[in-house]
């Protein structure tokens, strides 16, 4: 493992926001021991932060403390180092200590988004979901553009069976990233769980529509398989219930629901036509015919 390749790898991790803690830690330790980090110049601080986080992840707190000390000496009072110190405290200290530490930081600067988010995550881990949801709502009211925050809020609501609220949080996430099919898929699945079948069907179809590259004969892969399964589940329920479904969002049931049902059956079966899928195919077709 040469130093050069280690450094390059870590730089790529930083750029792509890859967590990969074990690998980061091994590469980082290698660099730290050889003392090459001193030659990095300004980049060495980013490296130390990365290594500290990875070290906390793999429970090598001694290394993390070493990094933190260097960072703290260089940047006293930096909010970024404060957050890192907080994360380090979360590893060993009782949650109440960490919470009061974060409270102190927030009092000094009420607009410190990173500390605020850490605080919310600690609250959630403690099981104080009501408090966490309340804080997260307030946080998102200020920092509206935080997509991760909205997804986390949706996740918290879903965990408490508050699917309608989860849908609202997800719709904000959708507004912020209308290009991400995975958010649409999550919205569709949440709508399905909430019982809003027509809305879920539409959203599953949007996901399929977004995967433009797929042509007619291709075998659905990845997210498409899931979306087709969802479509099948929705259309099956809608066909069976003969349009008695009430949608809370007033979404109308498509007129050619039978065609969609047929298409979904066909596509799901296609998904199981490959070499690996062939054993499951009989199971799937049994399920399809036995409505």
């Amino acid at each position: 493992m040469s130093l050069q390749s280690s450094l390059e790898k870590l730089a790529t991790f930083r750029k792509n926001n890859t967590r990969n803690s074990q690998e980061t830690f091994e590469h980082g330790l290698n660099i730290l021991k050889s003392g090459a980090s001193l030659k990095l110049g300004d980049e060495s601080w980013a490296f130390l932060e990365q290594l500290a986080l990875a070290a906390i992840d793999v429970n090598r707190l001694d290394i993390a403390d070493q990094c933190l000390k260097q960072l703290g000496d260089k940047f006293p009072g930096s909010p970024r180092v404060d957050v890192l110190t907080g994360i380090r405290m979360e590893a060993t200290e009782p949650p109440s200590t960490v919470l009061s530490y974060y409270d102190e930081l927030l009092q000094a600067n009420s607009a410190n988004a990173a500390v605020w988010k850490r605080r919310i995550s600690v609250l959630r881990r403690l099981g104080k979901v009501d408090k966490a949801v309340e804080e997260l709502n307030e946080y998102l009211d200020t920092f509206y553009t935080d997509v991760e925050g909205w997804l986390e809020l949706a996740d918290m609501y879903s965990a408490c069976n508050q699917y309608t609220s989860a849908l609202q949080a997800l719709s904000h996430a959708l507004l912020l990233t209308p290009q991400n099919p995975f958010t649409f898929l999550q919205f569709a699945e949440t709508a399905y769980t909430a019982g809003d079948i027509p809305l879920a069907l539409k959203m599953f179809l949007v996901v399929i529509d977004m995967n433009e590259t797929e042509d007619e004969d291709a075998i659905p892969l990845g997210i498409s398989v899931r979306a087709w399964w969802g479509t099948k589940l929705c259309s099956r329920a809608l066909v069976a219930s003969n349009s008695t479904h009430v949608s809370p969002s007033n979404t109308s049931i498509p007129k050619n629901i039978n065609l969609i049902d047929e298409l979904a059956t066909e596509r799901v079966l296609t998904a199981y036509s490959g070499e690996q899928g062939i054993q499951a195919r009989s199971l799937v077709s049994n399920w399809m015919s036995g409505r």
Binding site: S110, T142, Y144, L167, S171, K202, L205, I260
Partner: protein, 272 residues
Amino acid sequence: MSSNANVSLYLDPQIRDWVLFPITLVMILVGILRHYVIVLLQSQPKQLPRAAIREQRALARSQILRATAAKSPIPPSHYTSISQQLSDAFAKGTYLKDGPPKGDSPAAAPNPITDPAAMDGMMAGMKTQMVMMVPQMIIMGWINFFFQGFVLIKLPFPLTLGFKSMLQRGIETPDMDVRWVSSLSWYFLNFFGLNGLYRLILGDGNSADSSRDMTASPFAGGAAVASPVQDYNKLFKAERDNLEFSEGLHNWVGNDVENRVLRKYGKLAPAY
């Protein structure tokens, strides 16, 4: 003119060593010094309290919503509820930093001079201006005092007569070839042309180049910083109309999606 072009001036090499190079060197050094002085003078960016950030970003929030309206990713019921909620909040002034306005007394337009936050921004602009103006005035005085009327250099390419006022400032000779450059003009050429060199020495985003600041008056800089002092209440009221307008434009991507998908897989005849 043709006879004049043949007559060549002979410049003392000492002019090159003691005037041309010193002027250039001094200007480069002053630029570098200026960069570091400005770095020192720069005040910390002011940290806004939470409520102020919320106020500032509330507009972006409705802009995001409006931008997606024509091909909205969310169904109409969700869109309307978000839109209505924002509109109500704007009407009530929930997002205002100091809470909803009290009574019907129209708040006076905030005066940037009385607001200490805006004043800071203006002072910062003035400080950089001073750091730029003082050394440049000293250099110009120095050149004017010691080297007035010096011819410093001959450009290696011919130029038209139009460049005379640019290259021979400070020497009133109607017949001299335009290729000769006077000391004052050499100063101006350096003044406007050294930016590329600074970028090589100090990296991008340096503050050594003073010609850039010439275009910005200290009060223009102050105005840009003072913009957060805008009357958000009025902006929010205006945004409400925009929201209402976008609500009419709303079109969910899911509206026709089943037909699009069916067509894609050949289950439905193409629409055209």
